[in-house]
């Protein structure tokens, strides 16, 4: 291949890759998404856990053998949780308010169960901007707002994710309460009095008490703790990923020359950025240094440095984001690698050195297995389409040049760890 043609080929690869990246950048919706909380977005796990927690406590209140006791203690705080922030809406309730709250929950427990069952069809809209709701004549900021007619729940994503689990459960519970009807058949509202809850904020205080009661029960009955592992699990929705791996490259070259190395061990460090839940853009740096003895007293040392630019596509074999398997995923990638390598041949008296640099395409796949707290383990394989040779020019001694060829594809296998955040 002439020099001009190889330059043309490299430029062609680069143009194709840039085009693909540009195409999908158009579709990058950095912060807002209409995915139905399926795990592809930040907060999807949190919201699903919140719904599950709520469903668990409601089911427990409906079916548990101790439910009578549990129901009789609704809208109060146990002694050991008196200082918990979630008890704040309950601590100052009067006797009438407590009874009203308790009675309402007892009467509507099955309704809440039904609402939660239907919530699977609810759309979650994540927003990156403040949610403003009209409160009489003025607008106020809210963490979430629900449109029960259209079954749409809008949530401030950053605020929701930064909350504690109990606060998230409180928020969801509060919004779910808006699906319930008061004694006049009207949906519960934050505005205006209801029952013994007086004043313009009576409705809000009442709904807060309802929500707080369920959250306190969840804490007390260990429902919150039971989701600790799920909440701590590493999330595929992380945008930024740092990868470290150790690999072995099978060069498929040993039959061509005794100066090639059949296997080269290397290490790789990389970073990839999720453009959206499916597509990622990554850069990697791979390096290796191997010294081998070819024949008696001849040492071959190879040093490799490679820089990769890759586009990745994620594939999730399981869609249950609350499980480890559901977070784990395949990352299929394609890109280009610039390889710079130096080979030294040396014996006790002489050393020969040659350098090469090639740019070649690559394809690969990794399986990321979720661990906890942002940590991931992965294993992968890649096919590198390198075709190069070291050419030792021996004109000085009127000898023919010696070529050390690495033709064809190379296969790289790796294991590694990753941190996503």
């Amino acid at each position: 291949m002439t020099k001009n043609k190889s330059v043309f080929t490299r430029m062609l690869y680069l143009k194709i890759l840039v085009s693909i990246i540009m195409l999908f950048l158009v579709y990058v919706d950095c912060l807002a998404s209409t995915f139905v909380g399926n795990g592809g977005n930040v907060g999807d796990v949190e919201i699903q856990v919140s719904f599950h927690m709520l469903a668990d406590i409601v089911n427990q209140l409906n079916t548990d053998e101790h439910s009578d006791f549990l129901l009789e203690t609704l809208c109060t705080c146990p002694e050991d949780l008196k200082n918990h922030p979630m008890c704040e809406p309950l601590i100052n309730l009067g006797k009438e308010e407590t009874l009203f709250c308790r009675s309402f929950l007892q009467q509507n427990m099955k309704n809440i169960q039904g609402i939660l069952r239907r919530s699977a069809k609810m759309e979650v809209h994540w927003t990156g901007s403040d949610i403003l709701v009209k409160d009489h004549s003025y607008l106020r900021a809210a963490d979430a707002v629900i449109n029960w007619q259209n079954q749409v729940l809008a949530i401030d994503q950053n605020r929701f994710v930064s909350m504690r689990a109990s606060e998230r459960l409180f928020l969801i519970s509060h919004e779910i309460m808006h699906f319930l009807n008061d004694s006049q058949g009207q949906k519960l509202s934050d505005i205006g009095p209801i029952g013994p809850f007086e004043g313009n904020q009576g409705g809000r205080n009442f709904i807060n008490a309802l929500a707080a009661s369920l959250v306190v029960k969840s804490i007390d009955q260990g429902v919150l703790d039971s989701y600790f592992t799920v909440l701590n699990r590493s999330r595929s929705a992380s945008r930024y990923w740092f990868d470290l791996s150790l690999g072995s490259v099978s060069t498929n070259a040993s039959q061509n020359s005794k100066f090639t190395q059949a296997y080269i061990a290397d290490s790789e460090i990389g970073f990839h950025f999720q453009l959206n839940p499916r597509f990622a853009l990554g850069v990697n740096y791979r390096s290796s240094e191997e010294t081998a003895k070819s024949v008696s007293r001849l040492w071959i040392k190879e040093k490799l440095k490679a820089y990769q630019l890759v586009l990745g596509y994620r594939f999730f074999p399981s869609d249950d984001v609350l499980t480890r398997l559901g977070q784990s995923h395949f990352l299929l990638s394609a890109g280009i690698e610039k390889l710079q390598a130096t080979q030294n041949l040396s014996d006790s008296f002489s050393t020969l050195t040659e350098n090469i640099a090639v740019i070649s395409p690559l394809i690969g796949t990794r399986y990321y297995l979720a661990s906890d707290n942002g940590l991931w383990f992965f294993a992968g394989a890649a096919l590198l389409f390198h075709n190069y040779k070291y050419k030792y020019n021996l004109d000085q001694y009127s000898l023919p040049a010696v070529e050390v060829k690495y033709p064809g594809q190379q296969y790289r296998f790796e294991i590694g760890v990753s941190y996503g955040f």
Binding site: S257, S296, D347, S348, F349, Y392, Y397, L399, V402, E403
Partner: protein
């Protein structure tokens, strides 16, 4: 750091342990000259060879170097590369003779093997050759003698292998080939046989004439370069000049009080005898007379010796770590016999001026003439140097093994 100092003695021990070449035969009681893995530095009539063929220990191939420009001409693979190989070269026809245990391979100028029917079962010990007559004679450790005659195109036109026993009941002791194509051998019992190689090849049996000079068993014989009819011979107590045509004794020297240190046929045939531990005596022939030259210089063991009578120079390889031992009855003319503690020296005989006093690389293969030192380093990728003694210049070539190692 400490590891390095531990390593050095191990390297030296390894070199010493591996220093002896496989060509460790005495050059006494042989026909011709003992074999080496390097082609001789001198051709017929003592002419310097600018071609050098060497069996490379790393690639196990025969490398052919041109010493004029220090280049590799070609490289030839051998049969049974795991064995030791010994080489001889005919410059005019560019023919390479490759000897190993039980095998003689003859390569033509295209380095294709020439077929021949010569078979011998022993280990080759020595060769005698006459390039202009196309004669090549091999002598092995079972005392078999093989004769090959090459045609004008380098093909083997005739060949013969015979045992050491003549029909008179005597066996070969030593011998050599002169420029007339006569194979002159000493026999047990003190006789000398002059073998007609042409008739022997034609009739496939030893055809010879015999005479007895009455000097006892002759264990070393060398033809004089300027007179093919005269041989310098050594018996137990004497060195003699004998005319094989007239069967007369021309000159004699009593060496009964001396011990033999070295026997050499390189350039001009000569002997090195020791009057005492530190007084070597060079014995050679000039103008049909036996001459002696006393060195009066203390030497270590002389491993290799080249005498140029016309130039008045004696060039040799001395092992400074080894001392000559009168009890050691083992004469070899091999610069690589010990590959450590070697020095190349050249002495001007007229006034004993040392014209050369050069350390030789340990572990390297050496070919010494009175004009140059060729050194083949034990470098896996290939590294050789040619040092010109007169011009004090050095040329080198590297990496000539690389393409063969890569295969």
């Amino acid at each position: 750091m400490a590891f390095k100092y531990l390593l050095y003695p191990l390297i030296v021990l390894n070199l010493i342990a591996c220093s002896k070449t496989s060509s460790s035969n005495s050059n006494e009681q042989v026909i011709g000259s003992t074999l080496e893995s390097i082609s001789p530095g001198y051709g017929e009539a003592g002419t310097l060879q600018n071609d050098l063929l060497i069996f490379d220990q790393t690639t196990r191939r025969i490398h052919h170097f041109n010493l004029t420009n220090m280049s590799l001409i070609n490289s030839t693979p051998v049969k049974n590369p795991e064995l030791d190989h010994y080489l001889f070269y005919f410059k005019t026809q560019d023919i390479v003779f490759d000897l190993s245990s039980g095998n003689l391979s003859i390569f033509n100028s295209a380095r294709k093997e020439v077929s021949h029917s010569l078979k011998f079962t022993g280990m080759p010990v020595s060769v005698a050759a006459n390039e202009s007559l196309g004669l090549f004679i091999v002598y092995d450790n079972l005392k078999s003698t093989g004769i090959v005659k090459l045609g004008s195109n380098g093909e083997v036109s005739q060949s013969f292998v015979g045992g050491p026993l003549l029909d008179t009941g005597e066996t070969f002791l030593a011998g050599d080939l002169n420029s007339s194509g006569k194979l002159v051998v000493s026999l047990t019992g003190g006789a000398i046989a002059v073998i007609d190689t042409a008739q022997t090849l034609a009739q496939q049996q030893w055809i010879y004439s015999k005479f007895t000079p009455n000097i006892g068993d002759i264990t070393w014989m060398a033809p004089l370069p300027d007179n093919p009819d005269i041989f310098m011979v050594k018996s137990r107590q004497k060195v003699e000049l004998i005319n094989i045509t007239t069967t007369t004794l021309i000159d004699v020297l009593d060496v009964s009080t001396m011990a033999t240190a070295q026997l050499s046929k390189i350039k001009d045939p000569h002997l090195l005898m020791m009057e005492n531990s530190y007084n070597p005596v060079l014995i050679y022939a000039q103008s049909n007379q036996i001459k002696t030259h006393t060195a009066n210089i203390q030497f270590g063991k002389i491993m290799y010796s080249v005498l140029d009578i016309a130039a008045g120079e004696w060039t040799f390889v001395e092992n400074s770590a080894e001392t000559w031992n009168a009890a050691e009855n083992y004469y070899y003319n091999n610069a690589d016999y010990y590959k450590v503690s070697r020095k190349a020296k050249k002495l001007r005989l007229s006034d004993h001026l040392f014209l050369l006093n050069k350390d030789l690389i340990s572990g390297a293969q050496i070919r010494l003439t009175n004009e140059s030192i060729f050194t083949l380093f034990s470098a896996t990728m290939g590294y050789a140097k040619l040092y010109n003694m007169d011009q004090y210049t050095e040329k080198e070539i590297r990496y000539f093994n690389l393409s063969y190692l890569n295969q």
